[in-house]
Amino acid sequence: MTNLSEKNPATEASSWRNWEKYGFRFFFIFFALSVLPLSAAYWRNLGAIYWLHISYEDIFDITRYFPWISLAWSGYASLIIIAALALAGASGWALYDRSVCRRKTDLDKLHKWLRIILRYRLAIALLGYGLIKFFPLQAPYPSLSNLNTAYGDFTRWKLFSMSLGIVPGYQRFLGLIEMLSAFLLLNRKTTVIGAGIVIFFTGNVFVSNLAYDNGEGVYSLYLVIIALFLVSFDLGRIYSLLFQQKETLPADDALQWPPGWRANGRLAVKSVLILFFVIFYGAKTYSAYRLGDYYQLPQRKGLPGAAGVYTVSVFKWNGNDLPYAASDTLRWKDVIFENWATLSVGTSRHLVLDSTNKESVATGDLNRKYELSGSGGRQYYDYTVDSIHQALYLHNKNPHYPEDQWTLYYKRQGNKDWLLEGTDKRGNTVQVTLEKLARRYLLKEAAKTGRTELLRL
């Protein structure tokens, strides 16, 4: 034992055991192939960004790089392929290092570099998700149509998202934890704490992705693998300290930066990254949050004064009056106008759902399908208003029903109700009377009064 003084602590001598060397070479290649953005599609997307008007959605996409080599098995195949490549590469590397004539690679130095890259990769990923949760954008409050859909008519994924959407404060808390671990990762000395939080937090995200059939499973698993790798560095020390309860030496993972351009460069790169992914991205998400610019929801305003839930008191199909019927697949059960330009119709038909369960950021109202993805029981129409002819041009947002398009002429009746009359693409005609319902939602009422008050609904 040499010098144990506090200023200059002794560290574990960095001797590599053989299996550690093999393991390291494998992981080095594995991460080199998966962290470095080698995919052409990623660069194409990057090139397509209009940098002067970059949006938070663009930055989110930048943070979310994943090497999609194969989409098989929900993308898990990509990780397996990369692992196979890494295995082959590591074997070659081992042979190279064993050949006597050549200089051996300095694994210590490579390891330190790898840790730096992984710390930043992981931190950026967490900031990407953390900020859209901290300014609750990831899961919006359920739409009127979603509030009026039976629980069993949603997929697990959608229920998960809506259950988060009703509690923005909780979303913010989750975002805060992701950001906290990102900051701990950006600071070399607190890496193990940050990565430890990621193992628990993102590990839980991974398991719930499996459970709820979300599309983020492979990506969250990938982040957990990075965190596990970062923690594994200190695992022996943690074991020695906490389980064996014996004297433990610290480790040195600091890369020496000679003063001059290298130290300055390091500082510059770190500053730019933080400026971009924390300050700039944070400002972008904040302003989107203030403007209510949810990337899932359409932006165009709906028919003025129409937002609400309506019962279809009269329904004429090609001139035939159809009375209320619980399981008639033709008759509209009810109609909902959202605040934005979406109209949804309750139906007893069993629908083929549009289920995009990935965190993809869509542009254009037609592509913003959060309201209908994973939701059955209703048909969702995007519409344009022609106020001169008092007409609505409806277009089913679900790609499985491309022919389902309507031209409906509207007329106010009284100050709450509407008459709609028109034809679909196939020439069927409808005449409907919509009577507005005064709906109150337990979800909102109980939030106002608390659960200890008496409620009659």
Partner: protein
């Protein structure tokens, strides 16, 4: 908290010999020698503030960790160990801190969101700590007592979270939604209900959460894995605490109780971890364990053995039985086998008058479902008084298990039935206990007196049948679950079965075509006569069915 800080610099303790204490892993010495004994007097002295803080902490955490309410002891001493129910053990594991006689009622303004009881204990602890400081001022350190305090807190937290965890490991705490709940609109639930259901739909995830909790608890029962267990406990219960605040789940106080215990258990190791992994300095940890003599060792092994056997062995078994045959939030008795599934109301006649279908009609039933168990649910477009409780607790009688209706609006009704399959009669009781709860509410605010009176009138009119008239059916219910799930606890509740008197119906049923068509005739809760014709619908939910179902129906 810097109680341990002074040990970092301490060196050279390992050479001293005395039978009093065991010191593990201190100082520079050969790795093979990991234990040494030393004199009490040779241990470094604690500072005055450390001693005072410790005394307060000791009293506080002992008070927090031990049960001080009569109910807990009553449960403990009335357990029939030969015919156990999971709830017997669960109730040992689950108690909130607070002194029984000083307990602050939930609705008092002093309750401080439920944390009032903690404050009371803290005040007592501070006072006791100062008295103790006066009486014992010459004491140099409390290493041993600190060890024992950690033992108490470890066992309290460990057993508590294991009890909590097993109801998830065998997923019964959050049941998969019943048909009635699946047919209810998303906006017609409370936030609490939505959270519970969102876990209920993914039973395997619930199992995962249960494994984490049980594992954390198990780690806490062993001294070397305590920190790992405490970190897991802090993470899991920290999240649950926040969830309870966000969704108004009502269990925030109990969840944060474990957060507090976990934080306390981390006080010892956190500085080591900080020093080693963040400051990158060498750490010579300082752990002191009492050296036990023969009988003390034996006692320790026996107590530890009993704890592990009871809370990891026996509880595992009784919880499994509960999951398999008697899931506690769901009725356990099979429903009439022909009457299962969703039905559309074809004909609805009330007092001879037929009402055509209109989703807004305030009398006509719609959306009728017979559950796999002995419940009927339907919707009427008429506002009603809502039961906003969690629908938990531990009732043995199916009629009192109300998860399928609590926190649910949208005109949903749920009824329990006692089925007389010989005469095809269903004796039904309303599961919505909001009316029964009103009494309590009335006392507090006097706001809903009018409602109370109206409901009370209706109940007086509606008493169609009582415990005596169908005594045999009611008593028979006790035996309608698998005998493996019989327990003394169940027997005791069926000695004098409770009927909530929340509205009763008697319906005669005829099941045609194997139950695809059902005809109901009888009297509803207002003694109006009903004639209802139902047709089974084969609605396919978009929600994936559960692959891990509680109960046997």
């Amino acid at each position: 908290m810097s109680i341990i800080k002074s040990y970092f610099e301490s060196e050279g303790l390992s050479d001293m010999q005395s039978p009093d204490l065991t010191l593990a892993g201190s100082g520079p010495k050969p790795a093979s020698v990991r234990q040494a004994t030393l004199n009490r007097e040779d241990l470094p002295a604690w500072s005055t503030s450390q001693k005072i803080l410790f005394r307060i902490a000791f009293v506080f955490f002992v008070l927090m960790s031990l049960p001080f309410n009569a109910g807990w002891y009553h449960n403990l001493f009335t357990i029939d160990w030969l015919h156990l129910h999971y709830r017997d053990l669960y109730d040992i594991a689950r108690f909130s801190p607070g002194l029984g006689f000083l307990r602050i009622p939930r609705n008092s303004w002093l309750s401080l969101l439920g944390y009032g009881n903690w404050v009371v204990l803290l005040v007592i602890a501070v006072l006791a700590g100062f008295v103790w400081s006066l009486a014992d001022s010459r004491r140099r350190q409390y290493n041993l007592l600190y060890y024992w305090l950690r033992v108490i807190v470890r066992y309290r937290a460990g057993i508590g979270i294991i009890g909590f965890g097993f109801t998830k490991l065998f997923p019964v705490q959050m049941p998969y939604p019943s048909l009635g709940l699946l047919n209810t609109h998303f906006g017609d639930f409370t936030a609490q209900k939505i959270f519970w259901l969102s876990i209920g739909i993914v039973p395997w995830y619930q199992v995962f959460a249960g494994i984490i909790e049980v594992a954390a608890g198990t780690f806490l029962l062993f001294k070397r894995t305590t920190t790992l267990g405490a970190v897991m406990l802090l993470g899991a219960l920290g999240d649950i605490t926040y969830v309870n605040f966000a969704y108004d789940g009502g269990v925030h106080e109990y969840a944060s109780y474990f957060v507090l215990l976990a934080l306390f258990l981390l006080v010892k190791d956190a500085p080591y971890i900080y020093r080693l992994l963040i400051q990158k300095k060498v750490v010579r940890p300082f752990y002191i364990y009492p050296q036990l003599n023969g009988w003390q060792k034996a006692t320790r092994y026996i107590l530890k053995g009993i704890s592990l056997f009871l809370f990891l062995g026996v509880l595992f078994y009784v919880q499994y039985i509960n999951f398999r045959y008697d899931p506690y939030k769901q009725p356990a008795v099979k429903g009439v086998s022909e009457l299962r599934g969703n039905y559309e109301v074809q004909v609805f006649r009330i007092n001879g008058r037929e009402i055509p279908y209109n989703p807004l009609d305030t009398q006509r039933w719609q959306d009728v479902s017979f559950e796999n168990w002995s419940s009927l649910s339907f919707r009427v477009a008429r506002p009603g008084l809502l039961d906003l409780s969690n629908g938990g607790g531990s009732p043995m009688q199916d009629v009192l298990r109300s998860f399928e209706i609590t926190g649910t609006a949208g005109g949903r009704n749920a009824f329990h039935y006692f089925a007389d399959t010989l005469h095809n009669v269903l004796y039904m009781e309303n599961k919505n206990m909001a009316g029964a709860r009103q009494g309590r509410f009335k006392k507090r605010s006097g706001k809903a007196v009018k409602d109370v009176n109206r409901t009370a009138d209706r109940h007086a009119v509606a008493a169609l049948w009582n415990a005596d008239s169908i005594r045999e059916l009611i008593m028979n219910e006790k035996y309608q679950i698998n005998p493996l799930a019989y327990s003394t606890r169940r027997d005791r509740e069926y000695v004098r079965p409770v009927l909530p008197k929340t509205g009763q119906m008697v319906l005669h049923y005829r099941a045609l075509q194997g139950g695809d068509r059902v005809i109901l005739d009888g009297l509803d809760i207002n003694r109006d006569s009903l004639h209802i014709e139902l047709t089974r619908t084969h609605h396919t939910y978009y929600l994936t069915p559960s692959t891990l179902n509680a109960g046997t129906y």
